[in-house]
Symmetry: C2
Subunit: 779 residues, 2 copies
């Protein structure tokens, strides 16, 4: 069983053998989700296990946030995603011996996550401690097409003659989870978060309803089964408050199989009653049984076929990267596909990391991908933000500001950050929401969304900036005392990223009000307010160090001492776990792309020379202690002509979870980094930019790759971009002709493919990374 690890394959993630140490991590990578329900890749038999988890988007428990010294405006309560009633458990007794791979032996064992079928398959041959042999095959899905439904098809086949089997299919609530934190209060809040409201079972069906102890959210989980077994079998079902169990006791003759299909349904709500949720769940089960396993499978594949048709990225020349990119696309789809009116958390629904909170990652890293591949999901994610606007406006009032202050981290829209310098002070989240809104509107022309949500999002976020900033005596518009993306500098004046994103936000809000004067009036925007926005945008302070010829990430940044990189041993990364914030904040050390992200998202605000100089300067300071960095550095490395570096960073972003580069994939996948993999391909080597809603490309691939191609949807038209060493070919796959540009030259793409040469790469001067922090060189 030593030969474990992921196998490289273009459309699958396969792991052979049992590695107990890797269980936590593979439960994350093998997690299934549709954005609504998420189930980690645990074994059906329950044990061995890493960190079992079933998550429902938006279903959380509340807990008090403690402070050694409290302060005005600190959030009093936090929210934590709840591991809800687990329906994935199908225990098996083989001749009275519990099937558990830690005992006996498993001569064959593999799991396969299939990106096209959208299922997790598992095949295990197990020899029990007493020597009996069975083969187990399971396949499970969380349905993209029936969002309340998951299903598991489970088969057991005797390999050495007739065999006596007992199968127990469970719904298990308040499953004990090994503690993940030293904080006793967190553990207490999460230990048994669910209070039973209702339990019932008959025939093959059971439903358990619970509510959360403190937050008072209600949920119901149901299971139903199709069992295919010989006539000698006996089947029963029973429930307790926290357990429902179908038991099948049966003798299976050699050559036959025990087959069980387990259908699961979940319903939850802050408002609907337990009977209503029970009804919803039983309805979903009835629908799923009617649909049947084969049709669920078929629809799952059709859904994914359509996805790959519009979203696939093909890489020729690096098979591991090809797999990693599809893995990334698949998981981002899983995180965002059916979130609908709810957030897309930083970990999707793959683990409890970050308490299940959503951050600015969603708008800045995940939505670009969804906007150009599954635009309806991008719209739904923005609708979630819009649905929290009242909370954000209340928060602004509490903080003495106008407009809306979106939370740094949240499940329900209320601020849950317990450390304001890296939370509340990161006001850029509002501009990030606005930028995602503008991007979505430009990419889709969705006027209905613009009218219902878009303009209001732009206006309320713009209002924050004129309230937060002020003009100095020289007439510059300053935004003081805020935190940009780089969490190793906090509460600084005039963070370039924040100021440039605010500038765009202000411009876009003014333009939207010009386009939609009626809506603007309804929102109370008059010409004077729009003029204030334009003026603030025009005079936005962007600090620049003339002596060094580079932008300052924020005022005075370049005057600070440089971090002692040579004196920092590798085991002291991430720095925040080994050095105090005060020292990180006051030195030149960058956790994650900040100015470099500004150069990507607001590339129109920099000259080429500035990009080259800034990239080199900040590259030497950036330690990538965040998974949000490598993908951005890849994009800008490609733009400034550092193709090898771009390739290295693309691989780092793509392999963040598969290689567990941050040593915490057990708590869930890094959805933003996975989305950033797409960004590094499309915006990096593809050179795609969408400044002002205009789509342009400046493609260029590293010599290791033969070919990189990707698909995008722009205003309903699907395009295909195929990049080779010397040329790029653009094809319109469907829809109306689109205006594009190639390395600065505009063209109209219609039914004729357009092939253009790729300009010679200028010689780039080498850049350096902080001591010991260079990315792994690839290829």
């Amino acid at each position: 069983m030593d030969d474990t690890g992921y196998e490289i394959s273009p459309w699958q993630l396969r792991w052979r053998g049992l590695d107990l140490e890797a269980l936590h991590a593979t439960e994350s990578t093998f997690a299934l989700s549709n954005g609504h329900i998420g189930i980690r890749g645990t074994f059906e038999e329950g044990e061995p296990r890493g960190l079992p988890g079933t998550y429902l988007n938006g279903f959380y428990e509340q807990r008090p946030l403690p402070y050694a010294e409290a302060g005005y405006g600190y959030p009093e309560d936090g929210q934590t995603v709840v591991n809800v009633t687990d329906g994935s458990i199908i225990r098996l007794l083989v001749e009275d011996e519990p099937m558990d791979m830690r005992y006996g032996s498993a001569p064959a064992h593999e799991r396969v996550l299939d990106f096209r079928s959208g299922t997790l398959r598992r095949t295990t041959e197990w020899t029990s401690p007493t020597g009996r042999r069975v083969r187990i095959h399971s396949e499970r899905l969380v349905s993209f097409t029936s969002r309340a439904v998951a299903a598991i098809h489970y088969e057991v086949e005797p390999l050495d003659g007739d065999i006596e089997l007992v199968l127990q299919s469970d719904l298990l609530a308040n499953e004990h989870i090994p503690a993940r934190t030293d904080d006793p209060r967190v553990a207490a809040a999460l230990d048994t978060p669910l209070v039973s409201d209702f339990a019932a079972a008959h025939d093959f069906r059971a439903v358990l309803a619970h509510h959360t102890r403190a937050s008072g959210l209600r949920m119901a989980a149901g299971m139903d089964h199709e069992v295919d077994y010989p006539a000698n079998g006996r089947c029963s079902i029973e429930t307790e408050e926290d357990l429902a169990r179908l038991t099948v006791a049966v003798d299976i003759p050699q050559g036959e199989r025990l087959k069980v299909t387990k259908y699961l349904a979940y319903g939850w709500s802050a408002r609907r009653s337990t009977p209503a949720l029970r009804g919803q769940v039983e309805g979903a089960l009835a629908g799923a049984l009617e649909t049947g396993w084969d049709t669920l499978l078929k629809r799952q594949r059709e859904y994914l076929d359509a996805f790959w048709e519009t979203a696939d990225v093909e890489i020729d020349g690096d098979a591991e990267l090809q797999q990693a990119v599809r893995f990334a696309l698949f998981h981002v789809l899983q995180a965002g596909a059916r979130g609908e009116s709810r957030a897309i958390p930083a970990k999707g629904l793959t683990g409890p990391g970050y308490d299940g909170h959503a951050f600015w990652d969603t708008e800045s890293f995940v939505l670009p991908l969804l906007t150009y591949t599954v635009p309806d999901s991008a719209r739904d994610a923005l609708r979630w933000r819009h649905s929290t606007l009242d909370k954000a406006k209340n928060r602004a009032v509490q903080l003495g500001q106008a407009g809306a202050v979106f939370p740094w981290r949240s499940i329900n829209g209320e601020e849950c950050s317990g450390y304001w310098p890296a939370g509340t002070a990161a006001f850029h989240v509002g501009a990030d929401v606005a930028a995602a809104t503008s991007r979505y509107l430009a990419a889709t022309g969705d006027e209905e969304f613009e009218a219902e949500c878009g303009v209001e999002l732009l206006v309320e976020t713009a209002r924050l900036w004129t309230s937060l900033g002020h003009h100095n005596a020289q007439g510059e518009f300053r935004i003081d005392g805020v935190t940009g993306p780089d969490e190793y500098t906090a509460v600084a004046d005039n963070n370039v990223f924040t100021n440039l994103m605010a500038q765009k936000n202000l411009h876009d809000a003014a333009a939207a009000c010009e386009r939609r004067p009626g809506l603007a009036r309804e929102l109370g925007v008059d010409d004077e307010e729009a003029a204030l926005w334009r003026d603030a945008a025009e005079h936005m302070r962007i600090p620049f160090d003339d002596a060094l010829g580079v932008h300052q990430q924020s005022d005075a940044f370049t005057h600070h001492a440089e971090w002692d990189f040579e004196g920092t041993p590798p085991e002291h990364y991430p720095l925040l776990l080994h050095y105090p914030y005060f020292d990180l904040y006051r030195k030149q050390v960058v956790k994650q792309a900040d100015l470099v992200l500004a150069m990507y998202l607001r590339g129109d605000a920099f000259t080429d020379e500035q990009k080259i100089a800034n990239f080199a300067y900040y590259e030497a300071l950036t330690v990538r202690d965040s998974s949000l960095s490598a993908c951005v550095q890849s994009v800008m490395a490609a733009e400034v002509g550092q193709l090898q570096l771009a390739y290295d960073y693309l691989a780092e972003a793509a392999l963040t979870d598969l290689h567990d580069l941050h040593a915490n994939v057990e708590n869930g996948l890094h959805i933003a980094s996975l989305a950033g993999t797409w960004m590094a391909c499309v915006a990096g080597f593809g050179g795609m930019r969408d400044h002002g809603g205009n789509i342009s490309f400046a493609p260029r691939i590293p010599p290791q790759l033969v070919n990189l191609s990707f698909r995008m949807t722009v205003r309903g038209s699907q395009i295909h971009v195929d990049v080779r060493a010397k040329t790029a070919t653009y094809r319109l796959l469907s829809g109306e002709p689109v205006q594009l540009a190639h390395h600065g030259s505009p063209f109209t793409l219609d039914s004729f493919p357009v092939t253009r040469p790729i300009p010679e790469l200028p010689i780039a001067t080498p850049v350096r990374q902080p001591y010991g922090r260079a990315p792994v060189r690839r290829g």
Copy 2:
């Protein structure tokens, strides 16, 4: 009983009548302490009561500090002063009716704190609900001369015929205290902090020994009595774990009195055993009995006579201010007199505020007074700092710095701050310790202290600065990302106060090593290190705004938006309770003198013109949400010729506690503000400065005052300075001649008084305060 309030009297604080609402506050103002033991001014009968408290310097309970989001280097445990075994209780039953002023009536009731006798006297005539009348007289002291001892003399006199009395004299541990905080964990930790180790009683004596549950400190409290009562009386004593009680039941004939003298003794230690502490306490009681009440009283008065001889400040023309100044001097003496190897907390031993922690207040506000009046107490306070040097060096290592990092707040020397931007980042505390060390050395010439502690304190604090700061490309020495005294701006670059105090620290350390080369070698200081210190000091960055012609409190300060003072209603002060830190930090609003304090303590680093311009600029931004501000503003207002304003601020500082200006005197007195009252008199109207150890004066009094005079001790010589409208007279009271200066002209003061004219006051341009924040105009 309506006619309550403090009565004005030069040597006493008297309060007539019972005002239940004012009980908490008067328990603080009437507190007695010798710096070792503190007892709040509660009634002997126990109730009514505000916040009873008996505190032992350095005796604390430990509690975990919680964080919503923890960070590297955050202190894990806090310390909280403990209300220990209460020995002040003497309950009385009058004909079976408990004496309690809330019942029956008290036609006469007064308390007097006497600054010359050092006692709290109380006289109450009480009519019980059944109509019986008694007069109670008590007097108590916490001995300055026997530091482990307190005593209460208690008399009851029947006023309407023979009466049956029962007197119960208690030692009471784990007294229930009404909760002061919403945080359930704090309340839990403090609810019953003491665990009983031992209890014994015989005759008139009892001892209770306890230890603290978490911190494990041990203590013993003992009482003994002299009881003078008729032969018919019965007396008994008994103990439980948390209670010892002497009971006296007696019939007192009209014309006679029941007289009880209760002697109290306390011993506590982290190292000594319970039997040893018991022995210490019983020994102290035996000594006190042998000394007797009258002699204790006499020694108390002699100690205070000597204090007033060297420390008195006389004010002619403002009787309330005269009283307040003596009240201030008395309480600062009580806080610092016998602290010896322990800290002087921000509240002294008068209440549980700030958890009983000591801050930079001690060195910067309290020690100037003690240095020039009770220099041995100043030395002992610095010895306490020195005794914590190992902890401060460990903290520096933890924070990645050289030298010593003294805590922002602590009881035992370990950092207890749970909010680093206003705690750990306030590195100036090291320079404050160094400045107090230098001042003490210059004022006393104490070579023994210099050798044992002084040089090491200067060296280890200096080492921090060269590690914390760095040179920029222009050769300036920068100290980035620190917090100065003003807690409404935090984590800023090049705080002028910090940089100037660091500059002095570096210079003084280099000079000390030059004076004491042997010691320097022992401390590992070589010439190169001293050269680094001198270089850093010489090139220290001091930000200045050329356009405005004023110093910047820290880099960029003058570019920030001004706080909206007009839009801030009076009930929104203190701002920190009504506005978020992020908004306070990024705006021009000053909680407390910062640059203005720098102009006082480092007045040698500013020109007169700069002082005038800076004072006006920062005066308009300073809201005085801290009690550490008015006294400093008074000093600098006097220097820049704003005598009325200086007078207003002096009164504000002096009356902070008597008028309860910060509405929190119930938690204890503001010892630093009380010490600042002396500062405002001596350094303000007296114009005393000690730059470089040279004592100079520039006296000038406001027209409301006829005369201000004060006494100081300089290198063992006592001087008297008498300031009138047109002249100042200097007298040497004892000791060697001293070098002084009067308004810039040096002179030698020997046995002949020197009278000098006071230069005409230049016309000062008016300054303004923030809207609604002008001080009360006085006189």
